[in-house]
Symmetry: C2
Subunit: 148 residues, 2 copies
Protein backbone atom coordinates (compact mmCIF):
# COMPACT_ATOMS: atom_id res chain seq x y z
CA UNK A 1 0.00 0.00 0.00
CA UNK A 2 1.56 3.29 -1.11
CA UNK A 3 0.63 6.88 -0.37
CA UNK A 4 0.82 10.19 -2.20
CA UNK A 5 2.31 13.15 -0.41
CA UNK A 6 -1.20 14.46 0.24
CA UNK A 7 -2.29 11.20 1.82
CA UNK A 8 0.84 11.10 3.94
CA UNK A 9 0.14 14.66 5.02
CA UNK A 10 -3.33 13.68 6.18
CA UNK A 11 -2.14 10.48 7.82
CA UNK A 12 0.44 12.29 9.93
CA UNK A 13 -1.45 15.58 10.25
CA UNK A 14 1.29 17.67 8.69
CA UNK A 15 1.03 20.07 5.77
CA UNK A 16 2.27 19.03 2.34
CA UNK A 17 4.94 21.72 1.96
CA UNK A 18 6.26 20.80 5.40
CA UNK A 19 6.90 17.26 4.19
CA UNK A 20 8.86 18.57 1.24
CA UNK A 21 10.74 20.84 3.61
CA UNK A 22 11.61 17.95 5.93
CA UNK A 23 12.91 16.02 2.95
CA UNK A 24 15.00 18.97 1.89
CA UNK A 25 16.66 19.35 5.26
CA UNK A 26 17.18 15.61 5.54
CA UNK A 27 14.76 14.70 8.33
CA UNK A 28 12.94 12.49 5.86
CA UNK A 29 14.83 10.43 3.28
CA UNK A 30 14.42 11.28 -0.37
CA UNK A 31 11.09 9.87 -1.41
CA UNK A 32 10.79 7.39 -4.26
CA UNK A 33 9.12 8.84 -7.34
CA UNK A 34 6.59 7.73 -9.91
CA UNK A 35 7.27 7.99 -13.63
CA UNK A 36 5.72 11.45 -13.52
CA UNK A 37 7.98 12.54 -10.69
CA UNK A 38 5.48 12.37 -7.88
CA UNK A 39 6.62 11.32 -4.44
CA UNK A 40 5.54 7.90 -3.20
CA UNK A 41 5.45 6.87 0.46
CA UNK A 42 4.85 3.74 2.51
CA UNK A 43 3.80 2.91 6.07
CA UNK A 44 7.21 3.45 7.71
CA UNK A 45 7.20 6.97 6.28
CA UNK A 46 4.00 7.67 8.21
CA UNK A 47 5.68 6.43 11.39
CA UNK A 48 8.75 8.55 10.85
CA UNK A 49 6.75 11.67 10.06
CA UNK A 50 4.51 11.13 13.07
CA UNK A 51 7.62 10.81 15.21
CA UNK A 52 8.90 14.13 13.89
CA UNK A 53 5.57 15.85 14.34
CA UNK A 54 5.26 14.63 17.88
CA UNK A 55 8.78 15.71 18.76
CA UNK A 56 8.15 19.15 17.24
CA UNK A 57 4.99 19.47 19.31
CA UNK A 58 7.10 18.76 22.36
CA UNK A 59 9.35 21.62 21.33
CA UNK A 60 12.40 19.66 20.23
CA UNK A 61 14.52 21.51 17.71
CA UNK A 62 15.12 20.05 14.29
CA UNK A 63 18.71 19.30 15.33
CA UNK A 64 17.55 17.39 18.39
CA UNK A 65 15.06 15.49 16.28
CA UNK A 66 17.79 14.62 13.84
CA UNK A 67 19.75 13.10 16.71
CA UNK A 68 16.70 11.27 18.06
CA UNK A 69 15.92 9.85 14.63
CA UNK A 70 19.50 8.71 14.21
CA UNK A 71 19.20 6.93 17.54
CA UNK A 72 15.93 5.27 16.72
CA UNK A 73 17.51 4.05 13.49
CA UNK A 74 20.15 2.23 15.54
CA UNK A 75 18.24 0.22 18.15
CA UNK A 76 21.35 -1.44 19.57
CA UNK A 77 22.98 1.72 20.81
CA UNK A 78 22.59 2.71 24.45
CA UNK A 79 19.83 5.23 24.90
CA UNK A 80 21.57 7.60 27.30
CA UNK A 81 21.78 10.16 24.58
CA UNK A 82 18.02 10.13 24.09
CA UNK A 83 17.52 10.55 27.81
CA UNK A 84 19.87 13.50 27.86
CA UNK A 85 18.06 15.17 24.97
CA UNK A 86 14.71 14.70 26.67
CA UNK A 87 16.04 16.01 29.98
CA UNK A 88 17.50 19.05 28.27
CA UNK A 89 14.23 19.78 26.54
CA UNK A 90 12.36 19.40 29.81
CA UNK A 91 14.68 21.83 31.48
CA UNK A 92 14.36 24.30 28.59
CA UNK A 93 10.58 24.16 28.87
CA UNK A 94 10.72 24.64 32.63
CA UNK A 95 12.98 27.65 32.26
CA UNK A 96 10.70 29.11 29.65
CA UNK A 97 7.65 28.65 31.87
CA UNK A 98 9.40 30.35 34.77
CA UNK A 99 10.30 33.31 32.55
CA UNK A 100 6.77 33.61 31.24
CA UNK A 101 5.40 33.51 34.77
CA UNK A 102 7.48 36.56 35.61
CA UNK A 103 6.08 38.31 32.55
CA UNK A 104 2.57 37.23 33.41
CA UNK A 105 2.83 38.65 36.90
CA UNK A 106 4.09 41.96 35.65
CA UNK A 107 1.42 42.14 32.96
CA UNK A 108 -1.20 41.26 35.51
CA UNK A 109 -0.14 44.07 37.80
CA UNK A 110 -0.26 46.39 34.81
CA UNK A 111 -3.71 45.27 33.71
CA UNK A 112 -5.12 45.31 37.24
CA UNK A 113 -4.08 48.91 37.63
CA UNK A 114 -5.63 49.89 34.31
CA UNK A 115 -7.15 53.33 34.32
CA UNK A 116 -10.18 54.46 32.39
CA UNK A 117 -9.09 57.95 31.60
CA UNK A 118 -6.57 59.51 29.29
CA UNK A 119 -3.26 58.21 28.08
CA UNK A 120 -1.51 60.88 30.07
CA UNK A 121 -2.53 59.09 33.25
CA UNK A 122 -2.50 55.57 31.91
CA UNK A 123 -0.85 52.98 34.08
CA UNK A 124 -0.06 50.75 31.13
CA UNK A 125 1.87 53.42 29.32
CA UNK A 126 3.44 54.60 32.54
CA UNK A 127 4.64 51.17 33.56
CA UNK A 128 6.12 50.59 30.14
CA UNK A 129 7.91 53.91 30.34
CA UNK A 130 9.49 53.22 33.67
CA UNK A 131 11.21 49.95 34.24
CA UNK A 132 11.45 50.77 37.93
CA UNK A 133 7.77 49.92 38.27
CA UNK A 134 8.41 46.23 37.99
CA UNK A 135 9.82 43.77 40.43
CA UNK A 136 13.43 43.07 39.62
CA UNK A 137 13.49 40.20 37.19
CA UNK A 138 16.89 38.74 36.52
CA UNK A 139 18.64 38.34 33.20
CA UNK A 140 16.52 35.93 31.22
CA UNK A 141 18.30 34.16 28.42
CA UNK A 142 16.68 33.33 25.12
CA UNK A 143 15.57 29.73 25.12
CA UNK A 144 14.10 28.20 22.03
CA UNK A 145 10.79 26.54 22.68
CA UNK A 146 8.21 25.80 20.04
CA UNK A 147 5.09 27.88 19.65
CA UNK A 148 2.81 24.90 19.36
Amino acid sequence: MTLTIGQLAKAADVKVPTIRFYEEIGLLPRAARTASDRRVYDEPAVQRLAFIRHARQLGFSVEAIRALLDLSDQPDRPCDEANVLAAEQLSAVETKIAQLEVLRDELRRMVDAACHGRVSACRVIEVLSDHGHCEGHGTPRPMAVADA
Copy 2:
Protein backbone atom coordinates in the same frame (compact mmCIF):
# COMPACT_ATOMS: atom_id res chain seq x y z
CA MET B 1 23.55 66.85 26.21
CA THR B 2 23.70 64.58 23.16
CA LEU B 3 24.54 60.91 22.78
CA THR B 4 26.15 58.74 20.15
CA ILE B 5 24.41 55.57 19.11
CA GLY B 6 26.81 53.59 21.27
CA GLN B 7 26.04 55.70 24.33
CA LEU B 8 22.33 55.37 23.69
CA ALA B 9 22.78 51.63 23.38
CA LYS B 10 24.42 51.50 26.79
CA ALA B 11 21.93 53.86 28.38
CA ALA B 12 18.96 51.76 27.28
CA ASP B 13 20.75 48.40 27.41
CA VAL B 14 20.09 47.59 23.77
CA LYS B 15 22.59 46.62 21.09
CA VAL B 16 23.69 49.17 18.51
CA PRO B 17 22.43 47.30 15.43
CA THR B 18 19.07 46.88 17.15
CA ILE B 19 18.75 50.66 17.39
CA ARG B 20 19.42 51.01 13.68
CA PHE B 21 16.92 48.25 13.06
CA TYR B 22 14.26 50.03 15.13
CA GLU B 23 14.89 53.20 13.18
CA GLU B 24 14.55 51.30 9.92
CA ILE B 25 11.19 49.81 10.85
CA GLY B 26 9.98 53.12 12.20
CA LEU B 27 9.80 52.42 15.94
CA LEU B 28 12.36 55.15 16.45
CA PRO B 29 12.25 58.37 14.40
CA ARG B 30 15.08 59.04 11.99
CA ALA B 31 17.96 60.25 14.07
CA ALA B 32 19.59 63.61 13.45
CA ARG B 33 23.09 63.36 12.00
CA THR B 34 26.45 65.04 12.47
CA ALA B 35 28.37 66.48 9.55
CA SER B 36 30.05 63.10 9.18
CA ASP B 37 26.73 61.28 9.07
CA ARG B 38 26.76 59.86 12.58
CA ARG B 39 23.51 59.55 14.46
CA VAL B 40 22.90 61.92 17.36
CA TYR B 41 20.41 61.32 20.18
CA ASP B 42 18.99 63.16 23.15
CA GLU B 43 17.32 62.30 26.45
CA PRO B 44 13.82 61.64 25.04
CA ALA B 45 15.39 59.07 22.70
CA VAL B 46 16.62 57.16 25.74
CA GLN B 47 13.10 57.20 27.17
CA ARG B 48 11.56 55.99 23.97
CA LEU B 49 14.08 53.21 23.50
CA ALA B 50 13.71 52.11 27.11
CA PHE B 51 9.95 51.98 26.56
CA ILE B 52 10.46 49.75 23.55
CA ARG B 53 12.91 47.51 25.30
CA HIS B 54 10.65 47.09 28.27
CA ALA B 55 7.67 46.28 26.09
CA ARG B 56 9.71 43.73 24.13
CA GLN B 57 10.76 42.10 27.40
CA LEU B 58 7.09 41.79 28.23
CA GLY B 59 6.59 39.99 24.94
CA PHE B 60 4.72 42.70 23.06
CA SER B 61 5.10 42.38 19.31
CA VAL B 62 6.60 45.22 17.34
CA GLU B 63 3.17 45.99 15.94
CA ALA B 64 1.69 46.26 19.43
CA ILE B 65 4.58 48.47 20.49
CA ARG B 66 3.99 50.69 17.51
CA ALA B 67 0.40 51.15 18.69
CA LEU B 68 1.47 51.78 22.28
CA LEU B 69 4.03 54.34 21.17
CA ASP B 70 1.44 56.09 19.04
CA LEU B 71 -0.78 56.27 22.09
CA SER B 72 1.90 57.58 24.38
CA ASP B 73 2.59 60.28 21.78
CA GLN B 74 -1.01 61.47 22.11
CA PRO B 75 -1.59 61.91 25.85
CA ASP B 76 -5.10 63.29 25.42
CA ARG B 77 -6.61 60.22 23.87
CA PRO B 78 -8.48 57.73 26.03
CA CYS B 79 -6.28 54.88 27.07
CA ASP B 80 -8.75 52.03 26.51
CA GLU B 81 -6.69 50.89 23.59
CA ALA B 82 -3.60 50.53 25.73
CA ASN B 83 -5.57 48.54 28.26
CA VAL B 84 -6.83 46.24 25.54
CA LEU B 85 -3.34 45.65 24.20
CA ALA B 86 -2.04 44.85 27.65
CA ALA B 87 -4.94 42.51 28.36
CA GLU B 88 -4.40 40.73 25.07
CA GLN B 89 -0.73 40.27 25.81
CA LEU B 90 -1.53 38.96 29.28
CA SER B 91 -3.92 36.47 27.81
CA ALA B 92 -1.39 35.42 25.16
CA VAL B 93 1.21 34.81 27.85
CA GLU B 94 -1.25 32.85 29.95
CA THR B 95 -2.18 30.69 26.98
CA LYS B 96 1.44 30.10 26.23
CA ILE B 97 2.18 29.08 29.80
CA ALA B 98 -0.72 26.64 29.78
CA GLN B 99 0.55 25.07 26.57
CA LEU B 100 4.06 24.76 27.91
CA GLU B 101 2.76 23.16 31.08
CA VAL B 102 1.17 20.43 29.00
CA LEU B 103 4.48 19.89 27.23
CA ARG B 104 6.34 19.93 30.52
CA ASP B 105 4.11 17.25 31.97
CA GLU B 106 4.52 15.02 28.99
CA LEU B 107 8.28 15.51 28.92
CA ARG B 108 8.43 14.83 32.63
CA ARG B 109 6.60 11.55 32.23
CA MET B 110 8.98 10.68 29.44
CA VAL B 111 12.08 11.53 31.46
CA ASP B 112 10.83 9.83 34.60
CA ALA B 113 10.35 6.62 32.68
CA ALA B 114 13.84 6.84 31.18
CA CYS B 115 15.49 3.48 30.70
CA HIS B 116 19.16 2.77 30.99
CA GLY B 117 19.43 0.13 28.32
CA ARG B 118 19.33 0.12 24.57
CA VAL B 119 17.44 2.32 22.18
CA SER B 120 15.25 -0.61 21.21
CA ALA B 121 13.66 -0.46 24.65
CA CYS B 122 13.97 3.26 25.21
CA ARG B 123 10.93 4.97 26.62
CA VAL B 124 11.91 8.32 25.16
CA ILE B 125 12.06 6.99 21.62
CA GLU B 126 8.99 4.90 22.18
CA VAL B 127 6.90 7.76 23.48
CA LEU B 128 7.95 9.93 20.58
CA SER B 129 6.99 7.20 18.15
CA ASP B 130 3.55 6.72 19.53
CA HIS B 131 1.41 9.73 20.12
CA GLY B 132 -1.04 7.50 21.99
CA HIS B 133 1.32 7.51 24.97
CA CYS B 134 0.45 11.03 25.89
CA GLU B 135 -2.60 12.46 27.57
CA GLY B 136 -4.83 14.05 25.00
CA HIS B 137 -3.75 17.59 24.57
CA GLY B 138 -6.05 19.72 22.50
CA THR B 139 -5.23 21.75 19.44
CA PRO B 140 -2.80 24.38 20.60
CA ARG B 141 -2.63 27.45 18.45
CA PRO B 142 0.59 29.25 17.69
CA MET B 143 0.85 32.29 19.91
CA ALA B 144 3.73 34.66 19.56
CA VAL B 145 5.44 35.33 22.83
CA ALA B 146 8.93 36.66 23.16
CA ASP B 147 11.83 34.44 24.09
CA ALA B 148 13.21 36.84 26.63
